[in-house]
C-alpha cells in the first residue's frame, strides 16, 4: 500500500464525497419529505431550516466532480460518459430543487409548482446518485482510456435498489434533522417518520451489503476471507451499535442522537464501499494510480487543498453555529 500523492488524493476525494453525503443528504431529504409537511407554515419551516446552508452543502458535489477532474482526470473522463443519463438527470433535478429555495417566495399562484419542483428535483437527484453508485459498484467497461460500454449499462435491478436506498436514506437524514431543528407537532411527526425510515434504511443497507460481494469476486474475497475479513467485520459490528443508539435516541426523545446515528449509517456504508473498492477508483480495472494525474498536478493542487480545506471546514462550522438551535418560525428574510 504505497503512501504517495495519488493515495493521499484518493483519501481527499473520498472525504469530499463523504462530506457531500453528510451535508447535502439531509437537505435533499427535506425535499423528499416536503409533500408530507402538513401546512404551508410547516413547509416554510422545513425549507428555512436548510436555506442558509444548502448551497454550501452542494458545493461539496462540485468539489467531488471538480476534484476528480483535477487529480484523477482519467476516472472523470470514463465515469461521466458511462453515467451520462443518471448524471444529466441528477443535474436537472438539482436545478429544479435549487431554484425553488428562492422561487417559491416570489409567487403565490405558482407556489405549488415550485413546491413540487423542490420535491421532484430532490427525489430525482437522490435517486440518480444512488443509481450512479450502484452502477459504479457493478463495474464499468474501459478500453483504450475511454468508456467502452453501452449507454444503458447503468440500468440494472441492483442500481435501482441502490437508488431507492439512497432516497430512503436521505429522507431519514432529513427527518432526523427536523427532529433536531423543530419543536411541537412537526417534530412529533418527523420523529414518527424516523422510526419507519430508520428501519427501512437499515433493511436496504443490509440488502445492498449482502448483494454487493456477489457483484465481483474481489469484493467477496475482501469481505469473507481471513484475515482481511476480521477488519472488514468491524464495520457491520459498528453498524449494530449505531442501530442501538439510533432507536434508543428516538425512544428517549433525544434531539441530536438520532441525527448523528443516521449520519453514522452513511459514514459506515461509505467506509464499507471503500473497503470493497480499494485500490480501484473505478472497478473492476482502473486503479487509483492508473487514473492519477501526473505528480506535478497532484502536488500543486495538494498545497492549496491542505491549507484551504481546514479553513473551509472552520467557516462552514461557523455558519452552522450562527444558525444553530431550534427554528424560529418568525425568522427569515423573505
Amino acid at each position: 500500500m504505497p503512501f504517495d500523492l495519488a493515495f493521499i488524493w484518493a483519501g481527499i476525494i473520498a472525504f469530499a464525497v463523504l462530506t457531500y453525503l453528510v451535508l447535502d443528504g439531509f437537505d435533499l431529504g427535506i425535499g423528499i419529505l416536503f409533500p408530507f409537511g402538513k401546512s404551508d407554515h410547516d413547509r416554510d419551516l422545513m425549507m428555512n431550516s436548510v436555506a442558509p446552508v444548502w448551497d454550501g452543502n452542494e458545493t461539496w458535489l462540485v468539489m467531488g466532480g471538480g476534484g476528480l477532474f483535477a487529480v484523477f482526470p482519467l476516472a472523470y473522463a470514463v465515469l461521466m460518459p458511462a453515467l451520462y443519463i443518471p448524471i444529466t438527470l441528477m443535474l436537472l433535478g438539482l436545478i429544479f430543487r435549487g431554484v425553488s429555495f428562492e422561487y417559491r417566495w416570489r409567487t403565490k399562484r405558482w407556489k405549488g409548482v415550485w413546491d413540487m419542483a423542490f420535491f421532484g428535483g430532490s427525489v430525482l437527484a437522490a435517486f440518480c446518485q444512488g443509481v450512479a453508485l450502484g452502477a459504479l459498484v457493478q463495474g464499468i467497461d474501459i478500453a483504450d482510456r475511454a468508456y467502452a460500454g453501452g449507454w444503458f449499462d447503468w440500468l440494472t435491478a441492483f442500481s435501482i435498489l441502490t437508488g431507492l436506498a439512497v432516497v430512503i436514506g436521505y429522507a431519514l437524514l432529513g427527518a432526523t434533522w427536523l427532529v433536531l431543528k423543530t419543536e411541537g407537532d412537526l417534530q412529533l411527526q418527523m420523529r414518527g417518520y424516523s422510526w419507519w425510515l430508520g428501519a427501512m434504511t437499515l433493511a436496504l443497507i443490509g440488502l445492498v451489503s449482502i448483494l454487493t460481494p456477489f457483484q465481483d469476486a474481489v469484493y467477496f474475497q475482501r469481505w469473507f476471507n481471513l484475515p482481511g475479513s476480521l477488519i472488514s467485520m468491524v464495520v457491520p459490528l459498528l453498524m449494530l451499535a449505531l442501530t442501538w443508539t439510533f432507536f434508543a435516541g428516538l425512544n428517549d426523545r433525544k434531539d441530536l442522537q438520532p441525527f448523528l446515528s443516521a449520519l453514522g449509517f452513511f459514514v459506515l456504508s461509505f467506509i464499507g464501499i471503500g473497503i470493497s473498492f480499494y485500490p480501484m477508483i473505478i472497478p473492476p480495472s482502473l486503479t487509483i494510480w492508473q487514473a492519477a494525474a501526473p505528480d506535478e498536478s497532484l502536488a500543486f493542487a495538494l498545497v492549496g487543498t491542505v491549507i484551504l480545506i481546514p479553513i473551509i471546514l472552520a467557516y462552514t462550522a461557523y455558519a452552522y453555529w450562527v444558525f444553530r438551535g431550534k427554528m424560529d418560525p418568525n425568522e427569515g428574510y423573505h
Partner: protein, 474 residues
Amino acid sequence: MLESFSAETLARVQFAFTVSFHIIFPAFSIGLASYLAVLNGLWLRKRDETYLNLFNYWKKIFAMAFGMGVVSGIVMSYQFGTNWSVFSDKAGPVVGPLMAYEVLSAFFLEAGFLGIMLFGRDRVGDRLHMFATAMVAVGTLMSATWILAVNSWMQTPAGFGIGENGQFIPLDWWAITFNPSFPYRLVHMVLAAFLTVAFVVGAVSALHLLRDRADRESRRAFSMAMWMAVVVTPMQIMAGDLHGLNTLEHQPIKVAAMEGHFDREGDHQPFALFGIPNEKDGRLDHAIEIPYLGSLILTHTIDEQIKGLNEFAREEWPPVAIVFFSFRVMVAIGFAMLGLGLWSIWARWRNGLYDWPWLHRAALVMGPSGFVAVLAGWITTEVGRQPYTVYGLLRTSDSLAPVDAPAVATSLVAFAVVYFFVFGAGVFYILRMMNQRPATPKTGLHDGPVRAAGITPAAQIDPNFIPGAQPKEN
C-alpha cells in the same frame, strides 16, 4: 430535426447553450456582490438609510441570481466529463487543478458566507455581517480569476509538456496560470461584470425615476450607476483594445475573423463597419469600410499590415461570420454605453440627472446591454478559438466523449426545455422584483402588507409607504 447533426455539433451546441445561460448569472453576481459590499459599507459609515434600503433591495435580487448561478454552474462542472471526456483526460492535469482552486478558494467562500449575508445581520452583528458580505464579493472575484486562468490557458497554452499517454503535463504553474492572455481577459471580464451591473442598476433606478423623480433610493442608485458608466466604460474600451492587441499576437486568425479581413489590400488596413463575410469565396461582401482605421486599431500605426484569413489554411479558420458579427455587437454596445455615460455627465452638469426623462428612458433601454455585450464578447473569443479546444494543440473534433448523437441530442433538448422554463421563470421573478421601488417595505410577494398585482407601481398601491422610512428588517 436533430438527427442530421453529428455528435460533435450537438455537444458543441449543448456546451454553448449551457455555458451561455450560466455566464449571465456570474456576470451579474460578480458585479452585484461588489456593489452590495459598497452599499453595506456606506450604510455602516454614514448611517444613511438610503444605503440600507438599497442593500436590502438588491440583496434579494442577488439571492435569486446567485441561486441560478449555482445550479447552472454545477451543470458546467460535469459537462466537461459527460460530453468532452477526451479533453478532460488530456487537459485535466493542467486545467483541473486550477478549477479545484476555484472551488476551494471561491465557491466555498461565497456559499459559506452567503447565508450570513442574507439571513444573519441580526444574529452576528454589523461587523461580522460586513465581513461576510465582503467575503462573498471576494469569492466572486476569485472565482472569475481562476476560471479565466483556465479559459486563457486553453486560448494561449503555456508552461506544459506532453506526456507519453497524450496528456498535457504541467511543468510551470506560474506560466500556466499567468499565461499570455490571462491578465487581459481577467481585466476585460471583471470590468464587463461591473458595467453589466451598473447598467442594470441604472435601468431599474431610471424606471422608478420616470415614475417618481423624488424617489430617494433611485436617485442615489442612478447617480452611482452613471458614475460607473462614465468611469468604467472608457477603462473597458482601453482594456478591450489591449486585449485585442494580445489576441493579434497569439491568435492572428481570430483577429482576422473579427475584422472580416481576408486579404491584404493596399498599404494600409481599413476597418469594416459592416459587411457580410463570404467564407466560400474568401472575401467580405457589401463592406462599408473606414480607411486606415484597421491599421490604427490593430497596430496603433496607420500603415502597418496584418495577415488576412486567406494566408492561413482553411482548416484553421473559425466560423468567420459568427465571430465577425458578435464582435461588432460587443463594440457597438461598448460605444453606446460610453454615449450614455457622457450624456449623464452633461445632465449632471446641467442639474438634470434626475429630471431628464429621455436620459432615463435611454438608461432603461440600456438595462440589458451589459448581458448582450458579455455574451457577444464570449461568442467572439470562444467561437474564434475554433477549431481547437486547446489552441493549436487539441482539436475540438478530437476532444469529444464517446457518447452517441441521440444521447447528446436528448440531453440537449432536456437542458433547453428545463433552462427556458426554470430560468425564464427566474428572470420573470427578478423583473417583477425590480418593478417595485427600492424602499418598498417587503420586496417580493411573500408576507408584505400589500400583495396583489406585482406589476402595478408599488408607490401607488402601497399605503404604508413613507418616503425615507426604514423598512422593518425582516
